[in-house]
């Protein structure tokens, strides 16, 4: 076992902060968020999960795609690709597997999303295993585990007397200080590959298999469920896998005879009424129930059908953040019961 002390960890993190942008859980105005930190003193180590997932550091809420400049008859387009190196500390396994879900769409499927992919390449993830499940966590039901190291670069597990370090990828190895190899207990064997039980195959499955979803498309359950929905966007914005966006060109400060614009993309959510509105004002999804259905079908049917993974990692953020207690676990349980 490779065990390092808290002091060593602090020193290492502070050293990382000098070379790259270190992003870690931090308390901002009473909310725990992944934010840049200059020193390990600012980092919160004991937490269930920050309010927002690490998604916002790879797929930001507002991303500038290019700058458009117009001078007389000439137009110049400048692509703005991110090239900032960042290290995210305190990544929970559910968030890391959320990135795996996003990868299948943004990186593994043509056309490749350069902005996401570039950030992904420049990001190293230091995982921190959960000590216990939070009140609304359900990662285990979706095949996750509290200390699942599969999707991070380095995994830390808090043990008595320090943190156990598991190096998962080459990227992770590069981030480690070389003098750690001199530690008495340093052991760089590859981490044992554990087999993760698929809880869904158990006698009471946690969610419906993909092929069982289509019959529920015409179910009046969705309209009933959505009656209390406020059509806000919290559930999509806190979700580690929701990835819809909208693109618009906006004006930047310009000069006389010289115009500047930027093309930005911003998060969008299928819960909002305007999301599906098309040219001419028609809205094929005018009812809240239809929008609600889309959210669940997207996560458990459309996405797995098109890209492979289920677009839910069981982090439970939407369960806690929803102002009117629309609870994804309750919905899944209902569908399972009706189906059986």
């Amino acid at each position: 076992m490779s065990l390092i002390s808290k002091e060593k960890l602090d020193g290492w993190l502070s050293a990382i902060a000098k070379e790259a942008t270190l992003i870690a859980p931090r308390e901002i105005g009473g909310v725990l968020l992944y934010r840049p930190v200059a020193h390990s003193n600012d980092i919160v180590f004991n937490f269930t999960r920050p309010e927002m997932s690490i998604k916002e550091w790879l797929f930001p809420a507002t991303d500038r795609l290019m700058v458009i400049e117009k001078y007389r008859q000439q137009i110049r387009l400048t692509e703005t690709l991110p090239n900032n190196r960042q290290v995210i500390f305190g990544v929970r396994p559910c968030d890391a597997s959320g990135l795996k879900v996003l990868d299948t769409l943004f990186t593994d499927t043509d056309p490749v999303d350069l902005y996401y992919t570039k950030r992904r390449e420049n990001t190293t993830l230091i995982g921190l295993a959960c000590q216990e499940m939070g009140e609304s966590c359900f990662c285990k039901s979706l095949g996750g585990e509290l200390d699942d190291p599969r999707d991070v670069d380095i995994m830390l597990v808090e043990r008595e007397g320090g943190y156990e370090v598991q190096v998962i990828t080459e990227k992770g190895r590069d981030l480690l200080p070389s003098d750690w190899h001199d530690l008495d207990n340093w052991d760089e064997r590859e981490t044992e590959r554990r087999v993760y039980p698929d809880f869904n195959s158990a006698s009471s499955p946690a969610y419906l298999e993909t092929q069982a979803w289509p019959p529920f498309f015409k179910d009046d359950y969705w309209e009933k469920l959505a009656e209390r929905c406020l059509s806000c966007r919290i559930c999509a914005y806190v979700c580690p896998t929701c990835r819809c966006f909208d693109i618009r060109d906006e004006v930047l400060p310009s000069g006389v005879g010289f115009d500047r614009f930027e093309r930005i993309r911003c998060w969008d959510s299928c819960a909002s009424e305007a999301y599906r509105r098309i040219a001419g004002g028609h809205n094929p999804r005018p009812l809240k129930g239809q929008r609600m259905r889309n959210r669940f079908f997207c996560k458990f049917y459309y996405y797995p059908e098109q890209y492979g993974p289920i677009a839910c990692t069981g982090c439970g953020r939407c369960v806690d953040a929803c102002p009117v207690n629309i609870d994804i676990t309750e919905v899944l349980q209902h569908l399972v019961e009706v189906n059986s």
Binding site: G30, T62, C266, V324
Partner: protein
């Protein structure tokens, strides 16, 4: 550049009086500072708050709004609206860090070249003395900790001694169920909007359409949601409703604060009084979010518990309107003495620069999820001004200017309408103390017009023309 600060001043001048007044000044060769960028508008009433906010966002050091004298408006009462709007906007912008001297409203008629010049000169001097605006700049943290009602350890714990027991909730729950059963059975309403407890023990809105679902309804100390939010959509289904369809009629369970929202909606003709059957609840306060549900589950209430901030400031313990009242008006002794709004006073005691820094820090967290807007019973524009595809008021990005413009605009649109249910703050996932903006405007409305939204039927004074006493 000789190093002297030359402020950028934008003037919105009414074309009939003030713009002509500027011309008069020019023709009479009266001098005034060249810092003013005059923008001609058809009427000072056309100068929307967004216009002023965005002017500051884009770097103006001062904004001057000039219109016709009261009584001389070419559109009869356009300037009455300006006279009511601007002070409200000014209060809001001052509260969030603008120096009051930077925004000025005045009246100049077409013949008053001299007056025009004097006002512009004075204003330019005042703004010059202040130096460049800090409105856009992200200044360093104030270290001021206001963390909203959610974090008990930061703010003063609000503790009320609570004499009643669990039985009270059982009794009220039964009374609601009985009434709902009666209304649905007699087909007096299509739906009863109330509360239920979900599988995780969290209380949430419930919509009861049939008599056999009535048992789901509950009343407890977590009934925080303002159900009046759902009235508009229930009574005005967005899809084409056929004319032969029966007129929608719903029953709704309301707390005193919620009932005020119904008054505002009725005053704004959102639906008819007969369409709503109001089941009013007397209220002794709603619990703070944390731990409340678990305490309920254990069927035992502690002697002391902490109620939400809004309940401490609340003055109505009985709904202002209802068709059926459940519960006795509570004994006033259990209501804690209102400690005054110390959070509000705290912010008001800061300097403009500190306030700007404080609010920049707060708005910076906003993710524009619009939950505050969606949950508000009174944010009821079919399409929000800040979300229209053709709107250039606010970009769709998450820059500080966009977020601030959204929040200030939202609060401004609720001036004289907000009933203080604080749902906006409860739902905010980023814990932004949004209700402070509403509270400062409510306070202003009370001191200017002696008006509190929703206490009685009738339009907000901001929506009417000036009356004698208000001039």
């Amino acid at each position: 550049m000789n190093g002297k600060f030359e402020p950028k001043i934008v003037g919105y001048l009414c074309t009939w009086c003030s713009y002509t007044g500027a011309d008069t000044a020019g023709i009479s060769r009266i001098k005034y500072p060249g810092n003013l960028r005059a923008i001609r508008v058809p009427c000072s009433g056309r100068v929307s708050p967004e216009l002023i906010m965005r002017t500051f966002d884009q770097g103006a050091d001062g904004v001057l709004v000039l219109g016709c004298h009261i009584g001389e408006c070419h559109y009869d009462n356009g300037n009455h609206r300006t006279a009511k709007r601007l002070p409200i906007l000014k209060t809001l912008m001052e509260f969030t860090g603008l120096e009051p001297e930077r925004l000025r409203l005045d009246w100049v008629s077409a013949s008053e070249g001299e007056r025009f010049s004097r006002i512009v000169t004075e204003f330019t001097q005042e703004v010059s003395a202040l130096g460049p605006t800090k409105w856009q700049n992200h200044t360093e943290s104030t270290g001021l900790r206001y963390v909203g009602s959610r974090s008990a350890e930061m703010s003063q714990p609000r503790v009320a001694t609570f004499s009643s027991r669990f039985d009270q909730y059982v009794e009220k729950t039964e009374a609601i169920q009985e009434k709902a059963r009666e209304l649905l059975a007699k087909d007096q309403v299509n739906c009863v909007i109330g509360y239920e407890v979900g599988p995780r023990g969290r209380t949430r809105p419930a919509f009861i359409h049939h008599v056999d679902e009535v048992d789901r309804l509950v009343w407890n100390q977590d009934c925080s949601h303002n159900l009046a939010t759902y009235l508009r959509q229930k009574l005005h289904p967005s899809q084409k409703s056929s004319s032969d369809e029966k007129r929608q009629r719903v029953a709704i369970v309301v707390k005193p604060c919620d009932s005020r929202a119904i008054n505002v909606l009725l005053s704004e003709n959102q639906f008819d009084r007969e369409q709503v059957y109001v089941i009013g609840m007397t209220c002794e306060g709603i619990f703070n979010k944390e731990g409340a549900s678990r305490q309920f589950a254990s069927h035992h209430l502690p002697e002391k518990f902490s109620v939400q901030d809004r309940c401490v400031h609340c003055t109505e313990r009985t709904p202002v309107l209802c068709d059926f009242l459940i519960g006795d008006p509570p004994d006033s002794s259990i209501i804690p003495e209102s400690p005054g709004d110390d959070e509000l006073e705290g912010i008001l005691s800061l300097s403009p620069a500190e306030r700007a820094a404080f609010w920049t820090e707060q708005f910076d967290r906003c993710i524009r999820c619009y939950a505050c807007r969606q949950v508000c019973p009174l944010c009821n524009c079919p399409t929000c001004l800040y979300e229209r595809d053709d709107s250039l008021w606010v970009g769709m990005g998450t820059g500080i200017n966009e977020k601030r413009a959204f929040h200030l605009g939202r609060a401004y649109h609720l001036a004289g309408r907000c009933v203080g249910c604080n749902e906006c703050e409860r739902v905010c996932p980023m814990n932004i103390p949004i209700s402070l903006l509403n509270r400062v405007l409510a306070k202003e409305m009370e001191s200017l017009y002696d008006f509190r939204a929703g206490i009685a039927l009738g339009p907000s004074p901001l929506l009417t023309v000036l009356r004698g006493v208000e001039g």
